[in-house]
């Protein structure tokens, strides 16, 4: 538990922090002309995979709160990509559906993953391993977070 080791966790956190910003900046020119931000693109990916999810369901997949998603979904709706409807079975819930335009966007953005893939500059084997390790870190940190003492 040397001083180096303590610097290491700072460095790892910062690596993730700065990589996240770099990725968001890289997506921007690809998504801009369709009027999407990267978080909005993530929501679209969730809906392309399974349409008609609730706000809470989308939040579970993306680890986001309704206070983040509600305004974001309203912007997606204003852009014409989704429709928001109260669930008649349970009026507390809001179900989000893709519009025609939202479904078509999928094909129009087909180049995006290919462009990003090139930008990564590493093989898919390495990427898969990296993804798994980062997810493991995320899950460990999430699990430990509630128990962190405020010293």
């Amino acid at each position: 538990m040397s001083a180096d080791c303590l610097k290491l966790d700072n460095a790892l956190c910062f690596a993730i922090y700065s990589a996240n910003h770099a990725i968001t900046r890289a997506y921007k020119p690809l998504l801009d002309k369709h009027g999407l931000t990267y978080p909005q693109y993530l929501v679209m990916i969730v809906l392309w995979d399974r349409d008609g999810q609730t706000v809470g369901g989308i939040g579970d997949e993306l680890f986001l709160e309704s206070s983040t998603l509600t305004p974001l979904l309203k912007r997606l709706e204003a852009a014409g990509y989704v429709r928001r409807e109260r669930d008649p079975k349970d009026e507390r819930q809001v179900v989000v559906f893709l519009t025609q335009k939202g479904q078509e966007l999928r094909k129009r953005l087909a180049e995006v993953p290919r462009q990003m893939l090139k930008a990564f500059g590493c093989g898919s084997a390495g990427m898969e391993k990296l993804r798994a390790e980062i997810n493991a870190v995320r899950d460990n940190v999430s699990k430990a977070a509630p128990h962190l003492a405020s010293s």
Copy 2:
């Protein structure tokens, strides 16, 4: 260049995105009582390492713009952790100095890296390798970003 491969880059981007949020959430209870946010903590780390840097210098280290740093530094100043002074040699630049309170904070936050280290739940060898790989991804993406066509 299979479909799986294309999903993989989405998945890697999302892993980094969600890990970043998880880390920020984990830091929160540790920093809250000192009135710091995680980005503010990053700025303090930069200044603890080398005091008296310009806004631009801090931005170069953290990959942040003056439009992000200026208000953040004003909040750090309001909290009494830093002092901002125009450089008499070049009045365009603003140099940021730690106050006494800002220097003392370093010791008061000594537990933070140790707490986070526990939360990671992986050995330092793995962490160092992970850090290096994520930084490589960040640098690749940053370098490639300006050349990404908007299809």
